[in-house]
Symmetry: C2
Subunit: 482 residues, 2 copies
Amino acid sequence: MLDVRPVGYVIGLLVATLGLTMLGPLVADLAAGNGHWPAFLESAAITIMTGTLIAMACANGVQSGLTLKQTFLLTSSVWIALPAFGALPFILGATDSNLTDAFFEAMSGITTTGATVLTGLDDLPQGMLLWRGILQWLGGIGIIVMAMVFLPELKVGGMQVFRSEAFETMGKILPRAAEIASRISVIYVTLTVCCALAYTATGMTPFDASVHAMTTISTGGFANSDASFGAYGAGAHYVGTLFMFLAALPFVRYVQMLGGSHMPLLRDAQVRAFAMTIVVCVLAISFSLANTIHGFSEIAFREALFNVVSIMSGTGYASADYMLWGPFCVAMFFFIGLIGGCAGSTACSVKVFRYQILFASIGAQVRQLHSPSGIFQPRYEGRVVSGDVMNSVMAFFVVFIVSVGIVSVLLSLTGLDFITSVSGAATALANVGPGLGTEIGPAGNFAGLNDTAKWILSISMFVGRLEMMVVLVLITARFWRS
Amino acid sequence: MLDVRPVGYVIGLLVATLGLTMLGPLVADLAAGNGHWPAFLESAAITIMTGTLIAMACANGVQSGLTLKQTFLLTSSVWIALPAFGALPFILGATDSNLTDAFFEAMSGITTTGATVLTGLDDLPQGMLLWRGILQWLGGIGIIVMAMVFLPELKVGGMQVFRSEAFETMGKILPRAAEIASRISVIYVTLTVCCALAYTATGMTPFDASVHAMTTISTGGFANSDASFGAYGAGAHYVGTLFMFLAALPFVRYVQMLGGSHMPLLRDAQVRAFAMTIVVCVLAISFSLANTIHGFSEIAFREALFNVVSIMSGTGYASADYMLWGPFCVAMFFFIGLIGGCAGSTACSVKVFRYQILFASIGAQVRQLHSPSGIFQPRYEGRVVSGDVMNSVMAFFVVFIVSVGIVSVLLSLTGLDFITSVSGAATALANVGPGLGTEIGPAGNFAGLNDTAKWILSISMFVGRLEMMVVLVLITARFWRS
Ligand SMILES: [K+]
Ligand SMILES: [K+]
């Protein structure tokens, strides 16, 4: 039997911690004097108490380490427990959401997807906006720790290529997950503070700047206005672009930079490929925008830049309704969302390094095909890619694509049209945020969808955040035996 | 230097043979007394003469066999040379097409895609309809021979899993490609004749029955009416379903059946998976149709059956405009087209066996992930799938999906909307035929597209028919060196 107590203990502590963070919005609403603070008091009380009880109930089973199966269970169940409790303020608070909407919003927050079912964001009490920001900000740091500590250990989705590297850099000095997490946290907090200050400098209120900094550095994408970043001017767009870009880079490089390493970012193949892809897409889309809507102007460049970086980093802010930019831009934004940022960041989707490994393999194979006597091996960052990593990456890609197909069909069963179904499936599994079409596109939101569709999308965000394979492992009957 | 003469010799002979088949439509138009025969005379003369000249010019370089590179070159150039000459009757004849349309129609014919740029099919002279049927019929037999003889040798797209098997069955007795081809041809002709007789029995005119038999057994999908199979009744639909299904099965099994083997079809894993998938999709779509349009009736079942088998086998006939069947059916038809039939048939797309191999690999990996001490190897038909085959299949899938993305973006650049671009890319690369939407959907056709889009689609059909990887090998600079 799988002993779930060590997992329960950690989950309990994390849930209790989440409850503590609810005191932030409580204070915000108290300070604003808007009378909405009791919802957060109530939520915090329930969450802290339940979390503590779970931890206490499991405390007698705590061991010094976790088995592989327990690690799988922990990695996945945390992304169900936290949104379950994170949903409480939406049910009890000013939004007065039903369970479906509240769970969707919390899952979308904690997985940093950023799709919202709330409308009238501009009129929400500050506590609620802050809570959405906190959910994404906590999700973001959780994702980096998961990507750097847990996924490489679990050998999921080819993340093991980063294992030796992360441990070379940090493992010898900082062997334990908690210490890795603390190093990363310092950088994460620093980036968030810098981002908030920069937003404030562009004229954003300190409150909006803080919440947006939290949803920028987590590449989450929740905004405080129904117009998303359309509510702000050029300054905020450039600041947002810079920090979304920084948030989609591998955080281990920042650790190395602080350690005095020379240009670690520039020497990282996935960073170079990510930057190059952005340059190409921004040029193509600016050119298209210049020819159709804006003429050759700063605004054409800025709109292209902001939205490309937003979608490719998986943030999902929109500064304009790019559904109106013509078919080329629409198709580009769909496929850009399927590329994604760098591994070891808060970004999501297939991710640049997987394409690099897949393309390296295809290149080696093509050479092998016409020169069968030669020996061609795929390389990533100069090292031969092992069959193990290759198969993991391949499995991730196939499962991702097939999942987009299956989720699209399920969504279409609930009556959503083809574009909404396919783009909804893709944006949820890739944790990007906006889909295509008038309903869930950059100018729409997910409020009008039926409940079944919302649950399908909530599960999809969960599956996508766990890099597909973790969920596949969990649903295997064999996993639960002996 | 690559000696292209042996390739040129074979191409020349094939082109001349194509010219000879133009005498069929010539006779048909002469017999119908419609005055359209001179176009075929002219086309035949040009084609036979040019083909003969090419063959003669290359005859001095003929060797007893082909090198690997020459085989790659032959396999690909034949799918450019034949449509180039096959386009002549469309330019010179009653359709009076321009070069773009004529090449598109011929490429769509010979690759058995079945997308058409011609309208007013019902009023076309018989010779022209027969020519479209002949193009697909020749393409169909060419595909089977390519899939059974050439692709396994080239180790492209995982087709090498069928190498040992095909040679076990036939290689020892019939070691040469020409003899394999002749065995297959007997079956191909027999099936075509049976299909034509069955269509005639349902009340189709002998001419329509013959042309449709040719485009059914080749899973091509060209029809003699703008309404496709909407022009016919229940009998034709059931006959069509049966023969489209038979045409999408591996032809090597028919050879075994004639050789007295016991139930070779039932013992083939891809046949079972293909049939099961069809059953599930037909049930789901009949149920949806019964609930929305037709009630629980024979017509709901028949419409579902015919169109599912048509799209999954890659034939592309439509008996109704399934764009009107609601979002679930639309999404289903899109993804069914990305499954495809069995390898070693005239069917196309990703194909069932590749999904089976990919899923087997994912299953083995998932078990490995939670039980690292065990040894789990993916199996197909009871045998361990080698890393070589695994990588080929994976490369095919990735290249296919990425190509759909790239072609979609290119099509959207020409101004096509999102659904038309994405479904057009998929239907061309998968050689299915109809796309989605009002323009290129089952009730539309490709006539109204701009010329650039038509060329992009023509190239996509070519790339898809060559199972992606052959083209990748050819465009490598290294291929052409030394
Ligand atoms: K996001
Ligand atoms: K077809």
